[in-house]
Amino acid sequence: MNKPLRRIAIFCGLLVLALLIRDNYLQYVKADQLASDKDNRRVAIERYAHPRGDIIVDGNPITGSVVSKSGDFKYKRTYKNGPMWAPVTGYSSQAFDGSQLEKIDDGILTGNDDRLFFRKTLDMITGKPQQGGNVVTTLNAAAQKAAYNGLAQRGGKGAVVALEPSTGKILALASYPSYDPSSFAGYSDSDAKAWNKLQKKNNPADPMLNRALRETYPPGSTFKVVTAAAALENGLYKSADEKTNSPLPWIMPGTTTPLKNEGNIPCENATLRVALQYSCNSVFGKIGSDLGNDKMLAEAKKFGFDSEQFTPVRSNASVFSDHMNPSQTALSSIGQYNTAATPLQMAMVASAVANDGKLMKPYMVDELQSSNLDPVAKTQPEELSRPLSPANAQILQSMMQTVVEKGTGTNAKISGVTVGGKTGTAQHGVANSANPYAWFISFAKMPDGSSPVAVAVVIEDESANRDDISGGGLAAPIAKNVMEAVINAKK
């Protein structure tokens, strides 16, 4: 009986071998994948096992950690002035995971990032408890405050984005209405209630939507800046003060409908400067139609349309359509029809003009630090594209300055500073039934020629009824306050 017995012994050995192989597969080959699986609760337990690092604005943390008493999570996230900073920080919740910077830089904040490996090992040897690193942002607290308070005073919904044109640094990123990430940072019933209250299905105002990056609005007349840039770049008109070939009324090609202007304004054969000053639909519609879809699209793309931006928080792609007929192109060129832009996108437009035609990639994380403040990674400014030649950019700057000096944007004037801007009111809804959006994009130029800030403000307007007045009336004052905050911070 010994021969089959030996075979049985081999069989038992094979059983053990199969288990060993499977175990090696699980605990060696697949280990990392299993250990970092997002549903694996250990990931969350580990995330809250140590105080998280902080998100820092102007040298001060806007986040914190407290010891929490609920369940297996040791620390809970807190936020200073949560609603104001929520579009920047996102949230980090024991029950509801995380978003935006809290999620993207989770590795740094928890201290588990590979880039912190050396530090972590050192701490382990010296017996120090693990600590998270910090995320230093590019934001400007004063500008953010001006932006958020401006939106809050207005009520309704809206967003503000401010950029530093020379680098692409995001200085303000506000969205209203907002939410307090502290309210659902824990794991208790009250956290769940707070979370449910904020969900869109229970709250039509959708406070958790980051309007500055994720909502696309029809940009309305602010898009005329892009159209003007396309006209100059394609050589359709050479200067701001050259008469354009613009009949009034101008009948859109292929239709019998004239493209109307708001009110009785001097648009017939107006110069580009006058057309922008009064926001002439007929002039810019015709420019779009004359240039054609392809050239308009190419210019819009140079400004960043049709692509998502990663700041590193993702922004939605803004839209300028392809395959439009001339009259659709005309409507799109005045920021209606299919055109849609995020507030970030329009801030990029203003910032490219202010930066003499060079568009910098927008970013909001300046530096990642280890727990002892050693830099781990630093973001270098990066050029995204050149939508305008320097000469054309200066022409457009002077046109936008006229808008603020004696056009629709006089509410944005700042004494001692040259301000350029463009108002906009976008119709939306079926047959324009919904409230229009009030827009204002602008930049400030210091006497030394530098441009410290470019802003885009959008407000879902409750009271607007006439083009451009609302953009200048509602949005421009907020832009002015944000620009002033940045300028004062520089002094």
Partner: protein, 483 residues
């Protein structure tokens, strides 16, 4: 207790009884390790969880040492030639099991579950009873061949044990499997664990008698030896019974175990490969047949194929009437999170597996806290126990002892494979427990009895042949004197 040699006073021409050395001192030295390792582990858990050495360390160490000492003395006295590895290996596993069960008792998550009571004190009690049973088997079972007499009584006992959980009022349906019986005042018992041993006795006794008939009286058909119907009968009966257990008690593991054990013993007894083929075919047919209409088993297979989906289903309210469980996915996460070296004693989160963390899924805790290195060591310990059992079978001189030893060690290896394979997602989960490691009285008792029987057989196998009669030529002639 050194090996026996011929007394020099005898002048013999026959070969002396040179048996294997008894190796009792080797066993004792290994036992010291088998006790020391869990004691250090116990201290380690306490330090990791609460930053101080657990208060009961001395008692625990003394207790485990005392149990191992008693077992060792029993072996030394009643089975002096037994294999020296079996007892230390079993002691090590039992000790590590106690540590992990105690460690899981400290989990706040498990403490918050309904019906929680610390399992470690109970397990310690059962371990003591297990050692007592171990000693009792060695004391009262002087020769394993005695069991041969109880072949048919064993069969009867095994069937009774298997059917007990189905008796109304006695059986308990726990999480979808009816394999427990409730004894008032004692708690629940899994008769299948004991049936495993009793059934091995029956198979060994039956096959020893029938092996020639099974091996020789057959027709050749397509290269295989087909047995006669009357010899095939019993295997069909056992197959049917194991399928019935599967159907009525929804216990995939036990039926697989019994059937596997029977096929192994049959193969060893008859030396005919055809039996293996038949066995595999029949078990496959049975498994497929039952799986086609038994939802409990279908769920298990589904859960095995896609544990993540099962995990997600368990988090929602489903209306399919099936109890979805996130255990397997949780177990896989525990293994993965442990990685190569593990998190260290007391620093894992295998309590996320919830109520089965200290029984069916106890291996996941080892996986997380001791890592790949620890699991490989534990699997090798199990492999070593099976290997020592099979060695015992090889060495055994009587066919009954051979068959019994191969049956018991084969069943042991199969059980380890089925459980470990289940919790590691290699095969569908069956709901059996890891011998010695898992919390559960019947399992500890039955496995200590199993080790005792293997030790008894190995003692007989390694015992030197009785000192032969001295050479008659050398003996003094008896002179009958007239009185």
């Amino acid at each position: 207790m050194s090996s026996t040699t011929n007394p020099p006073t005898h002048h013999t021409s026959t070969i002396g009884a040179i048996g294997a050395p008894s190796r009792r001192n080797t066993e004792l030295a290994l036992l010291v390790f088998a006790v020391a390792v869990p004691v250090f582990a116990y201290a380690n858990v306490g330090l990791a969880i609460s930053n101080h050495v657990p208060a009961g360390l001395l008692e625990y160490g003394l207790g485990l040492g005392l149990l191992a000492g008693v077992a060792h003395l029993a072996v030394r006295k009643f089975a002096p030639y037994a294999d020296p590895l079996l007892l230390p290996l079993a002691t090590l596993l039992n000790g590590l099991g106690l540590v992990v069960i105690w460690r899981l008792d400290q989990s706040k998550l498990l403490q918050s579950l309904r019906g929680f009571s610390p399992a470690a004190p109970r397990q310690l009690l059962y371990s003591a009873m297990g050692i007592a049973l171990f000693a009792a088997v060695l004391i009262f079972l002087k020769d394993h061949r005695v069991l041969q007499r109880y072949t048919y009584i064993s069969m009867f006992c095994a069937l009774v044990l298997l059917i007990l959980p189905l008796v109304p009022g006695l059986g308990a349906n726990i999480y979808g499997a009816k394999i427990w019986i409730r004894i008032p005042g004692l708690g629940s018992l899994q008769p299948g664990e004991f049936a495993k041993i009793v059934l091995a006795v029956f198979f060994a006794g039956y096959l020893m008698v029938k092996r020639d008939a099974l091996a020789l009286a057959s027709r050749r058909f397509m290269g295989l030896y087909l047995p006669r119907g009357r010899d095939l009968g019993p295997i069909l009966v056992v197959w049917a019974i194991s399928i019935l257990i599967l159907v009525f008690e929804t216990d995939l593991g036990t039926s697989l175990l019994f059937f596997g054990m029977f096929v192994i013993m049959l193969y060893v007894a008859t030396e005919r490969t055809s039996w293996i083929v038949f066995g595999l075919l029949m078990s496959a047919a049975g498994a497929v047949g039952v799986a086609s209409f038994e939802p409990h088993i279908q769920t298990r297979v589904q859960a095995w194929l896609n544990p993540m989906r099962e995990y997600q289903l368990s988090r929602q309210i489903t209306h399919d009437g099936i109890l979805h469980s996130d255990q397997l996915q949780q177990s896989l996460w525990a293994f993965g999170s442990g990685g190569t070296l593990g998190t260290g004693w007391g620093q894992g989160h295998s309590d996320l597996i919830k109520f089965a963390a200290n029984s069916d899924f106890v291996l996941a805790t080892f996986g997380e806290e001791l890592g790949l290195a620890g699991i490989m060591a534990i699997l090798l310990i199990y492999g070593l126990i099976a290997e020592r059992g099979l060695r015992t079978a090889l060495a055994a001189r009587d066919p009954f002892g051979k068959l019994l030893a191969v049956g018991l060690s084969g069943a042991f290896a199969l059980q380890v494979f089925v459980v470990a394979g289940g919790v590691m997602g290699l095969i569908p989960l069956t709901g059996m427990t890891m011998p010695f490691l898992a919390s559960g009285g019947s399992s500890v008792l039955a496995n200590w009895a199993l080790i005792a029987i293997l030790i008894r057989i190995s003692d007989t196998a390694r015992r030197p042949a009785p000192t032969p009669a001295t050479n008659p030529d050398a003996e003094m002639t008896q002179v009958v004197r007239p009185s």
